[in-house]
Symmetry: C2
Subunit: 308 residues, 2 copies
């Protein structure tokens, strides 16, 4: 099978750290172009805009869109209209409605659209899912606490309206939880803490339940210094399950049962090639829908101003 | 065909004003029971809870759920589990995710779920839709301004988190707009004004667009005294279209072309009977999805405290 000729749009930190190495070691792809206002990729043709790139390089089969979510719709639409398959970094868009529109467009054109959730491909996620499927779950706690100054230094877009604030990392937790739990959950209450000088929340507490009244709680906080936590803890009939380090490590009753080096982006590109070959799409909006639900249902609380 | 034996849950103002008269004059239905913590309906069996009612009256085929949205999921799930068709007042739930869950449950049980949007059945809405389908639209303005003290006096739930505030009437506008425009729209920017003593917004301004870059703006305001406005105004290649009075009246270039007495709830019950006979559901979440998108993407602004 000939390789998928792929192009990158929005060349920033995540592209250099993750997308380029993942594409380089996957024989299903050949990277042939990139478009970015500021960044470039060595050894291939670079353009200032996706329009210029698609015009100049008709051989492109697929594009990966890695710019901030507020700009993703336009680029995705342009690519789909030009007949290209589209990989969307997370979150897939600034609104649910625009992604629904892209999904319909991809379907009408017979193209593949991939709303990627990299944390779902963390090494221990499938093992956690299998473990939970075979137990009775009593309750679930999600603790996602990190230091925004360390992970997102001076990223102004993340604090703007639509930048999602603490939900930018929190949506990773939601992408895992919506995959490993046996039934769909929904939010019953939430509190969002906004720094008085910012348009996006710095912390949130959320209560979920499901059709069987399972209690699921989440604490998201960007003010965590010292030890960082990306943990999902379930009390079950088969013991306490701790899925930690963002899905990398699984312990049952304190004993490590699964720990492997992470391969999230290689797995994402494997999945994207699969759906292109199978002529399908993979667009699960549940994680973003929970974020929207939290903003709609949640109580707003104002806290101390945040300065980088 | 035997009539659909129907029951009402949550007997308040909207039930007395709209549901009871609409059911009474529709031969497709026989109203046989009601459940409500406070209200009762004369001439039928009344219960304090939906559980007690379903237990005592197995002949019920369908239920209409008219309590505040925060309590609707539980009742809907109970009814579907008991094998009953379900009519949901607007908005269909407190979150998108819970309604998605109900939709899946109804489908798995072969039951009809109806997420009703009464304003879509306002008399001139279909005429507006037909008019717009035959023109080129230049821009659209939605102006939904009413006096909350007149329409929602002392309704505390509407100001609570999850009560939606100004989006409770605003979602009526969104239910019309999503029906009459030729392509799906999505929000690009929004500002939500919260009274400093309330958890729900009193006003909002929203900018939408669509795949063809149509400019659609909305102004929602609950502080309007004097003349009330529920208008959708479109500049088109065939003149200025004004859909006013919440969808009741249509004018083109100032000339009234459609004005009839409203029949919104009779039409809703007609539609519900249709989907029950056809064994389908009718759940369009687009209006609620836009509200969630506005909360997620919108900038929050704080304004003067509001007291009833």
């Amino acid at each position: 099978m000939p390789p998928i000729q792929i192009a990158l749009v929005g060349v920033g930190k995540i592209v250099r750290d993750q997308h380029l190495p993942a594409i380089a070691k996957n024989g299903d792809y050949r990277l042939i172009a990139a478009a970015s206002r500021h960044g470039t990729v060595d050894g291939i043709d670079n353009f200032k805009s996706i329009e210029a790139m698609l015009e100049a390089v008709p051989a492109i089969d697929a594009v990966s869109l890695c710019m901030p979510p507020q700009y993703r719709y336009e680029a995705a639409r342009t690519a789909l209209e030009a007949g290209k398959h589209v990989f969307l970094e997370k979150p897939p868009g600034a609104t649910l409605s625009e992604v629904a529109d892209l999904e319909a467009l991809a379907a009408s054109k017979g193209l593949s659209l991939f709303a990627s959730w990299h944390s779902r491909y963390a090494p221990a996620v499938e093992a956690a899912r299998s473990f939970l499927a075979a137990t009775t779950i009593r309750d679930v706690k999600i603790v996602w606490k990190e230091d925004v100054r360390q992970w997102h230094p001076n990223q102004e877009w993340i604090w703007a309206a639509g930048g999602l604030g603490i939900f930018d990392p929190g949506i990773n937790a939601l992408s895992i939880v919506t995959h490993i739990l046996p039934r769909p959950v929904f939010i019953t209450a939430a509190t969002l803490e906004f720094p008085e000088n910012r348009d996006a929340p710095i912390a949130a507490t959320i209560a979920f339940t499901d059709a069987d009244k399972l209690a699921v709680s989440a604490e998201f906080d960007w003010r965590q210094t010292g030890k960082q936590s990306w943990d999902i803890i379930a009390q079950t009939s088969a013991g306490e399950m701790v899925l930690s380090e963002g899905g990398a490590k699984l312990s049952i009753d304190g004993k490590i049962v699964h720990e492997e080096p992470e391969q999230e982006y290689p797995m994402l590109y494997k999945r994207f090639a699969e759906i292109i070959r199978a002529k399908t799409s993979d667009v699960d909006l549940a994680p973003l829908r929970h974020v929207a639900d939290a903003f709609m249902l949640g109580r707003r609380k104002f806290v101390e101003a945040f300065h980088d």
